[in-house]
């Protein structure tokens, strides 16, 4: 992975930097030992590694402000880091910068049940928020698959999604305010207590800005009452097109399921071989459709969904009748990534989104690429919102396969853009897809984004080498791949 050339002047200010940081964060909050730094050299995208100059672990917003002023004055780059679970290299360190690790910001500050909000520090895990409020019957809706490890600060940076965003929205729709520290060390309150804050919607801009605009030290989220009940329907189809048609008919008839997941035949078989969830092996495509809400509503909608899929060539239909069965329906889907990891030494996960109507032709296109590159592929798909996760199977030990997998992946993402979709639905651009940005945006589009970046960070010190194509970039393109043995969080279900 090509990164911006390290700045020798910044590297030369190492002693000044360490001294300055120690004056701000006393004790063990400044890490310089190479063995300890190694824990921060990579994120969920383990193919890329880089030791930073130093890692600093502040405890307070004021310390963050002082650190950023110091870095600005010394022209030292800053890579903010939450749980380090990014799949796009969003927290990949740079050689001439610090890693600003937010792990000590791990407290839930305040839960306001009357107003249905929670104020938390950014190092609290996504699931930690739900844990803090579930005793009173509430939860935090966005649920990225890494939710036991990923932090709300990282979710804000990446605008994380999950399987329920069709109905409940992404992070951006569930965050009401943040405290943002700028590169000048200014502490800004964006949003918070009241809705629709005055001025430009900087909160909306910060969510999903991948750590390129500032550092978030506090987040206010909306919490929702936990749905009374949830049930799922497991449906097999003889073709991908029939499954896609069923999805369109369900949504077109006015039903918004809490989740709607699709798997193709290779993914079904991999999952079935791995955990035996009871998926139909003879189906070409499988849908898991989950409805939630009041019991009366769920029962009513289940009936309607079943009637729809019956008329859409469903080859098998199972409706969950207990919570155990609902979870069993999900178990295969949630195990799809490790299941594929079991049948192939390595796999490469893509994250494009497409207009759903184009699904059959995109799957045909992926099959054609599969033949062209002579690599197998399994598809799992957030069917409700068109977010595709093709898993390209390869063996890094076979000469040429890694390169073929990378070219295959780039072809898929370019096809997503070509049919009206986008490069990334929830994993972020990071370093991985940085150099494909020109396929989705022209130079005017990107220049407008760069000027917004300059309004926050004129010296380009925040998270360099991410999101924007490197000016000098040539044929080399951003890649993301997960090596079977090297997956950083092997115990996190990935979907």
């Amino acid at each position: 992975m090509r990164m911006p050339t390290p700045d020798p002047l910044a590297l030369g200010r190492y002693q000044q930097l360490i001294g300055g940081l120690r004056a701000i964060v006393p004790g063990e909050g400044v890490i310089v030992d190479e063995r300890e730094l190694a824990a921060y050299e990579s994120d969920g995208l383990t193919a890329y590694r880089q030791l930073p100059m130093v890692v600093v672990l502040p405890d307070t917003t004021e310390q963050v402000a002082a650190i950023l002023r110091l870095c600005r004055d010394l022209s030292v780059k800053v890579v903010p880091r939450g749980g380090g679970t990014s799949l796009s290299g969003g927290a990949l360190p740079v050689a001439d910068g610090i890693v600003l690790a937010m792990s000590r910001f791990n407290r839930v500050l305040d839960v306001d049940y009357q107003n249905r909000t929670a104020r938390v520090q950014p190092g609290v895990t996504n699931l930690g928020i739900t844990r803090a409020v579930e005793g009173r019957g509430f939860y935090y809706a966005p649920d990225p698959s890494s939710q036991i490890a990923c932090t709300i600060g990282g979710n804000v940076a990446e605008n994380s999604g999950g399987v329920h965003c069709l109905k409940y929205g992404m992070t951006t729709n569930n965050v009401l305010g943040v405290v943002l520290v700028t590169i000048d060390g200014e502490i800004l309150h964006l949003g918070g207590g009241a809705l629709d804050a005055p001025g430009y919607d900087l909160l909306g801009l910060i969510v999903g800005s991948e750590g390129l605009l500032g550092v978030v030290t506090e987040v206010t989220v909306r919490i929702l009452p936990k749905p009374e009940t949830a049930r799922a329907v497991l449906v097999g189809f003889p073709t991908n097109a029939a499954a896609a048609d069923a999805v369109a008919t369900i949504i077109g008839s006015g039903i918004i399921p809490a989740g709607m997941e699709m798997m193709d035949r290779p993914a079904i078989h991999a999952a079935e071989d791995f955990i035996g969830a009871g998926y139909p092996r003879d189906a070409e495509a499988l849908l898991i459709i989950e409805l939630d809400g009041p019991e009366v509503e769920v029962d009513h909608l289940i009936e309607r969904v079943v009637a729809i899929v019956e008329q859409r060539q469903a080859s098998s239909i199972k409706v969950s009748t207990s919570e155990e069965q609902r979870l069993a329906f999900w178990a295969g889907r949630k195990a799809a990534f490790p299941a594929v990891g079991r049948i192939s030494p390595d796999y490469y996960c893509m994250d494009g989104t497409i207009p759903r109507a184009r699904l059959p032709e995109v799957l045909d296109g992926i099959s054609a690429f599969s033949r062209k590159y002579d690599l197998k592929v399994a598809n799992v798909f957030h069917a409700g919102d068109g977010n595709l996760h093709p898993l390209i199977l390869y063996d890094a030990n076979q000469p040429g396969q890694l390169e073929a997998a990378e070219a295959f992946g780039a072809d898929i993402l370019k096809m997503c853009v070509k049919v009206g979709g986008v490069l990334t639905g929830e994993h972020g651009v990071g370093v991985e897809k940085r150099d494909l940005m020109n396929d989705q945006f022209d130079e005017v589009d990107l220049d407008q984004q760069r000027r917004v970046k300059d309004a926050f960070d004129p010296s380009g010190l925040f998270n360099p080498g991410k999101m924007f194509p490197l000016l000098s970039s040539c044929a080399e393109q951003g890649r993301m791949h997960i090596s079977g043995g090297a997956l950083r969080f092997p115990n996190i279900p990935r979907f």
Binding site: N159, L188, H189, A194, I251, G254, T353, P355, G386
Partner: protein, 394 residues
């Protein structure tokens, strides 16, 4: 009368702005003009109208997405959606009656530019939560795009959020793409009679945080409501679900100590349209209409302070998240007084007032200096010469 250009294509918009940029001419951006009296008066050398840029360009009901040129009439969009049982879930307000403009004359571009969502705001989000993509011309005359036509998209900065609610001060929209949702099959509204604001806000909060899953929560004082002090709680959705949730709401949350009646879908739709469009304050020419945003639980105390220290009348929307306030003007209650009564974290917008008042007072809540400086830099990143709607948001 300033020169008016009525653009019929994106190229025309780009040409007009490029030329204005070159000559340092200020441009007032307009759709059909229904919300021009919202914001501070703009001093411009020319006016650019987008009404010639009209038409729905994409509508995929099964994908919950629509694109339309910026000047497309909102009625056209809502009619197309209604024909497919769908809607704009943010429930756009028509404030023409407050602003003294023509009712039913909004464009989709204007709706996005002002981020004005209705009573469903508290559960379904604002306009900004539904905008997926925008094509626009910035203050340099450059055509750019941001976002896309799919719901799930994190590619690059979300400039859609920044542009939504920017009142034409960052760019001139040429086409917007937005998420649409199924319209509820039916609705019922529970009316609570003789209920004070404090009790109403507490019960509305409980209902919003419960399986009752209400989608509208308003309170009107007797002075503004025929039936005395009343709270209105709307339940929308599938028939059996609405019935079950109404039962739950009345049994579990409201109880028998409060007099409650139920109104049906048709009557309810008219009621919520009135709340949405702030009808109770319409026709009060010479008065000021304020929208105050607070934490819901702070609303009753604010209402109390307003009644003690001003001659205004107010009602509650969004379960307490918003108060609409009508005040005599000019002069009696300047912005400073209204804002001094706000609780911590609250903000106040002067939505409707005579032009002289809007010129003299801060229409939008003033920002702390560092934030204002950052917003100015963001503004300059789109419109370096400040030629787009100069002064409107300041």
């Amino acid at each position: 009368m300033v020169e008016t250009i009525r653009a019929t294509s994106e190229e025309m918009v780009a040409e007009a702005i490029t030329s204005a940029y070159g000559q340092d001419r200020a441009v007032e951006v307009a759709g059909r003009g229904s919300k021009l009296p919202f914001g501070r008066p703009v001093r411009a050398d020319m006016r650019l109208e987008t009404t010639g840029l009209a038409g729905i360009t994409l509508y995929e009901p099964a994908e919950l997405v629509m694109s339309a040129r910026a000047g497309t009439p909102l009625e056209e969009i809502e009619a197309a959606l209604a024909a497919n049982g769908q809607m704009l879930a943010f429930e756009p307000r028509d404030l023409a009656g407050l602003l003294g403009t023509t009712e039913g004359s909004q464009t989709i571009g204007g709706v996005v530019a002002t981020n004005l969502a209705g009573p469903r705001r508290c559960v379904a989000g604002a306009v900004r939560d539904h905008v997926l993509g925008i094509r626009a011309v910035n203050g340099r005359g450059e055509v750019f795009k941001t976002g896309g036509r799919v719901v799930k998209n994190v590619t690059g900065y979300d400039l859609c959020k920044l542009l939504t609610g920017s009142f034409g001060t960052l760019a001139v929209f040429t086409e917007v793409t937005f998420k649409v949702l199924p319209a509820p099959e039916t609705e019922e509204t529970v009316v609570l009679h003789g209920i004070d604001a404090e009790t109403a806000v507490r019960l509305m909060g409980q209902a919003l945080g419960s399986a009752a899953d209400i989608s509208g929560a308003a309170w009107m004082p007797a002075a503004l409501s025929e039936g005395g002090d009343c709270a209105f709680l709307r339940i929308e959705g599938f028939g059996p679900s609405v019935k079950a949730r109404r039962h739950y709401l009345m049994e579990t949350i409201i109880g028998s100590a409060i007099e409650a009646t139920v109104i049906d879908a048709e009557e309810g739709r008219a009621l919520w349209r009135n709340i949405r469009d702030v009808r109770v304050f319409c026709g009060r020419w010479g008065q000021a209409a304020w929208k105050l945003a607070v934490r819901p639980s702070d609303a009753p105390a604010l209402l109390q302070r307003l009644s003690e220290q001003t001659d205004g009348e107010a009602f509650i929307d969004g379960g307490g998240a918003f108060l609409w306030l009508s005040l005599p003007c000019p002069g009696d209650a300047p912005a400073g007084l209204v804002r001094s009564l706000l609780p911590e974290g609250g903000h106040a917008t002067l939505v409707a007032a005579p032009e002289s008042e809007r010129a003299a007072q801060a229409v939008f809540q003033p920002l702390p200096a560092p934030l204002a400086a950052l917003e100015a830099r963001v503004k300059a990143s789109f419109d370096p010469k400040t030629i787009l709607n100069p002064g409107r948001m300041t």
